[in-house]
């Protein structure tokens, strides 16, 4: 293979042979060769002064890193729940037929590799796939045949599709993507009533860093990623923490199945996101910022770099920002490589430091000891956008939005069985019913609020309201109509997701989802008994002692479906039996008896 001639040292040197930049090195190699060959390992280990085992530890953690050649065109087809609902099965079968190989394999001619992947942030336009980093949405068998035909005729990945570009900035020269924004409802955050840069150029002239923090605290803004930690308090802690360097991270690793709002924010409002990071830097005294973004959004890379360059030219990044002497701050982009757990802030830091994305134990918290051991702020994309608007329009304005206990708005990602999937910005306080009405959902059986780590609710709870003290959510909102098999299509899919995405460090998280899935399958296959339901109820209790949010919530699909849809379980278990016999003798010999015309002697 050509890899023998490949200069791995050039790549390690590009990153100063710094082992904390291992992710970037591996991503670059993969980008060049389509996979990371074994012979890269000794070079990377030697140049970064680690060991091959260490390099492999990172390499083998992220599922987008390939270890073998994976086709000239590498297809990652989404297997999240909404993808299945929208016709993944036929799309996948067509891919297999046309490519001549199964999922998990590469076609014999080495042209096409077919692989599964977890939610890629396109739930409003499924089934969707990544092909060599490019996104293809709304796939149908017809389109798959067309795409594969174009692959066979050797077209570049940018010319595989004929579907035209999605709206807004998706049509920009630097994006050229068929992804649609699907902005269905704009609230104060998404409204185009603000010219980026105004806060940095004007407001900060009269506000000290402490003033900024106070204003954010007064607004009662809480983290929009799902955990809901008060943003102003986080900034204050970081301001007070001592450190030679400080870092601002924007967490754009939205991996919760069913969420895609950050995709839209980064496509349409990246200036706002970067301004939010710069504002945070001003508030806490940081000079370095990192946007940690999931690999699935690689198609936005050039766009984001273009915006960063523009902001530097306009003096909104770089030295003496907006003419303020000594206010220096710049941002670099750090890509992940396929790991849901890296959305957890300390796992994100580990990943950004070139390691496997294993959550750290806390304390110490990142505000004291974060990236490379320095005080670090990690904020969600949406939170940072909110912060800019709060400083612009004032905390009082922001506090007038939402409910008594939950101020402001939330950008929801709505998908599944509804007429108008997409993103909706709503003040906190709407009921589930309101949202179902808004999105054109009918005959709704259930809604998954907050993604797999959230909760599955039925119609009797549709009058609950979205806010921090009732239904809190990072924004994923998936609707299931009456025809969906909740246990087989939803709960099982979510459990498989958690099995794949566990980092494996904590004993309960590494094993319990697996054990629960076995139970669930037993019940789905008609072998369940009453005791299995009791086990499903009592076993997940131990998930509480896992280290991170992923582990603590990884049994939620089972817990919440069993609590709210118990009848679905009960109707599938064997009645009046306390023990599953494994098989029924009469049934097992039925066919042979029929064949030889014998009456079974049982």
């Amino acid at each position: 293979m050509k890899t023998t001639a490949f200069d791995f040292e050039k790549i390690t040197e590009k990153y100063g042979n710094d082992k904390t930049r291992l992710m970037d090195m591996l991503i670059d190699i993969q980008q060049e060769l389509g996979y990371v060959p074994q012979e890269a390992l000794p070079v990377l280990a030697r140049k970064t002064d680690t060991s091959q085992a260490w390099v492999e530890q990172t390499l083998s953690f992220y599922h987008f890193f390939r270890r073998q050649p994976s086709g000239k065109y590498t297809v990652f087809l989404n297997k999240s729940v909404v993808s299945w609902m929208m016709g993944r099965e036929r799309v996948a079968r067509t891919f297999e037929e046309e490519a001549g190989c199964r999922f998990g394999e590469v076609s014999p001619d080495g042209l096409i590799g077919l692989f599964d992947t977890s939610c890629i942030g396109m739930s409003d336009q499924e089934p969707a796939a990544l092909i060599n980093g490019k996104v293809f949405t709304r796939l149908t068998p017809f389109r798959v045949r067309e795409i594969v035909r174009n692959m066979r005729s050797g077209k570049p990945v940018t010319e595989l599709s004929t579907s035209g570009y999605g709206g807004g900035r998706n049509a920009l020269e630097v994006i050229r993507s068929e992804v649609r924004n699907n902005i269905q409802r704009k609230g104060p955050l998404l409204q185009d009533n603000y010219q980026y840069g105004e806060v940095l150029r004007q407001k900060l002239k009269t506000l000290s860093p402490e003033d900024v923090i106070r204003e954010i605290q007064l607004s009662e803004l809480r983290g929009r990623g799902g955990a809901g930690f008060p943003t102003g308090l986080k900034w204050e802690f970081c301001r007070k923490a001592k450190g030679e360097r400080k870092f601002i991270f924007c967490n754009a690793d939205e991996g919760e199945p069913g969420t895609f709002k950050d995709r839209v924010l980064l496509t349409e409002y990246p200036e706002l996101v970067f301004e939010g990071m710069t504002l945070a830097a001003y508030a806490v005294g940081a000079r370095e910022g990192i946007l940690y973004i999931r690999y699935e959004y690689k198609y936005l890379e050039e766009h984001l770099h273009t915006v960063l360059r523009k902001l530097r030219e306009e003096n909104l990044l770089g030295k003496d920002i907006a003419g303020m002497q000594g206010f220096d701050f710049d941002i670099r982009i750090q890509y992940g490589a396929g790991a849901y757990v890296c959305g957890e802030e300390s796992a994100l830091l580990e990943s950004a430091e070139g390691k496997r994305g294993e959550p750290r134990f806390k304390p110490p918290f990142p505000v004291e000891k974060g990236y490379l051991g320095f005080p670090t702020i990690i904020n969600n994309v949406e939170t940072l956008c909110d912060a800019v608007k709060i400083i612009h329009f004032g905390s009082e304005w922001y506090r007038s939005l939402g409910t008594e206990a939950s101020k402001g708005t939330k950008v929801l990602s709505i998908s599944g069985d509804c007429r108008y999937p997409g993103i909706y910005e709503l003040e906190w306080g709407y009921t589930v019913n309101d949202i179902l009405d808004m999105s054109g959902a009918e005959e709704v059986q259930a809604v998954q609020v907050g993604g797999p780590s959230g909760t599955l609710i039925g119609p009797e709870e549709f009058d609950r309201i979205l806010c921090y003290n009732d239904l809190a959510t990072g924004g994923s909102f998936i609707i299931f109509n009456q025809r969906r098999d909740l246990l087989r299509n939803v709960v099982l899919n979510f459990m498989e997701f958690f099995i794949e995405e566990s980092c494996g460090s904590c004993v309960p998280c590494r094993n319990m989802p697996w054990l629960l899935k076995q139970k669930l399958e037993k019940i789905l296959n008609g072998h369940g008994v009453w005791k299995d339901l009791e086990d499903l109820e009592s076993w997940p209790g131990i998930m509480r002692i896992n280290r991170c949010g992923l582990g603590q919530t990884a049994a939620n699909p089972v817990i919440s479906s069993l609590r709210n849809f118990r009848a679905l379980y009960e109707e599938r278990i064997q009645k009046g039996r306390s023990f599953d016999e494994g098989f029924e003798l009469e049934k097992a010999v039925e066919e042979s008896c029929k064949a030889v015309g014998r009456v079974p002697l049982i």
Binding site: Q57, F61, K240, I499, C503, P508, N511, W539, I542, I545
Partner: protein, 242 residues
């Protein structure tokens, strides 16, 4: 912020205790004769917090005592029916996750997992045995790696480095497929001392030192055959009282 206090006061199971700030709960408890079971923890080594068996309640919240430093006013509960159940559950999960055939294992009697199971009087796990297919790696001159028995505690990863500080052991993969690997280059150059230390640090029989004769000390006369795990810690309490 003011000057760091020299001592903090905490309560462990209603007993008021003074400790140095920054000390881990498990170490403070150990010094005071309170046994909190541990498996991945190794005294004096950077904690991993991965087995979760040392979970205690800190002001009512479950936290691993091996990773949580004491802070002034902490109220710590080390024993409750719920905590006992968590601990038993972790042990049971580990037994079904791997393939642990104690009678045929060289580590039997010195194995911390086995000792914990005895201490918690576990007869049969509530979870179904998985009987996974796991590899034995006998390609190293000094070490035998039997992944059937590995509990992924990271002790080898955290303690064994070559003389320049390069990590020799590491994880591979994630989640259910997580395993330990030995670096192909540094593994070859492992010294006797390093291999012996790796096997000694391994709480189970996943890493065995090949130059040692097996069963030199017969089963029945080994460390945990004489007294249950944790007895050394609890003796301290008795000495203090008397």
């Amino acid at each position: 912020m003011g000057k760091e206090k020299e001592y903090v006061t905490i309560t462990i199971d209603d007993q008021e205790i003074q400790a140095r700030p920054g000390e881990f709960i498990v170490d403070v408890a150990r010094r005071h004769g309170i046994y909190i079971p541990v498996l991945c923890n190794l005294k004096g080594v950077k904690p991993a917090g991965s087995c979760r068996i040392c979970t205690v309640l800190v002001n009512g919240r479950p936290m691993t005592s091996c990773t949580t430093p004491v802070a002034d006013g902490m109220e710590i509960t080390t024993r409750s029916p719920e905590l006992e159940d968590f601990r038993r559950s972790v042990i049971e999960i580990l037994f079904v996750e791997g393939n642990h055939f104690c009678p045929a294992c060289e580590k039997s009697g010195n194995c911390e997992l086995q000792a914990l199971a005895y201490r918690f009087e576990i007869m049969v796990p509530r979870y179904p045995y998985q009987f996974p297919h796991r590899e034995i790696d006998a390609s190293w001159p000094l070490l035998l790696k039997d992944h059937n028995r590995c509990v992924l505690c990271k002790r080898c990863i955290r303690t064994i480095f070559d003389k320049e500080g390069h990590p020799i052991f590491a994880f591979r993969n994630r989640g259910h497929e997580l395993e330990i690997t030995i670096d192909p280059e540094y593994g070859k150059n492992m010294t006797d001392e390093m291999a012996r230390q790796a096997a000694e640090n391994c709480p189970v029989g996943a890493l065995l030192y090949r130059k040692k004769h097996g069963f030199e000390i017969p089963i029945g006369k080994r460390k945990y055959d004489k007294e249950p795990i944790g007895s050394d810690v609890e003796k301290r309490k008795k000495e203090k009282v008397s």
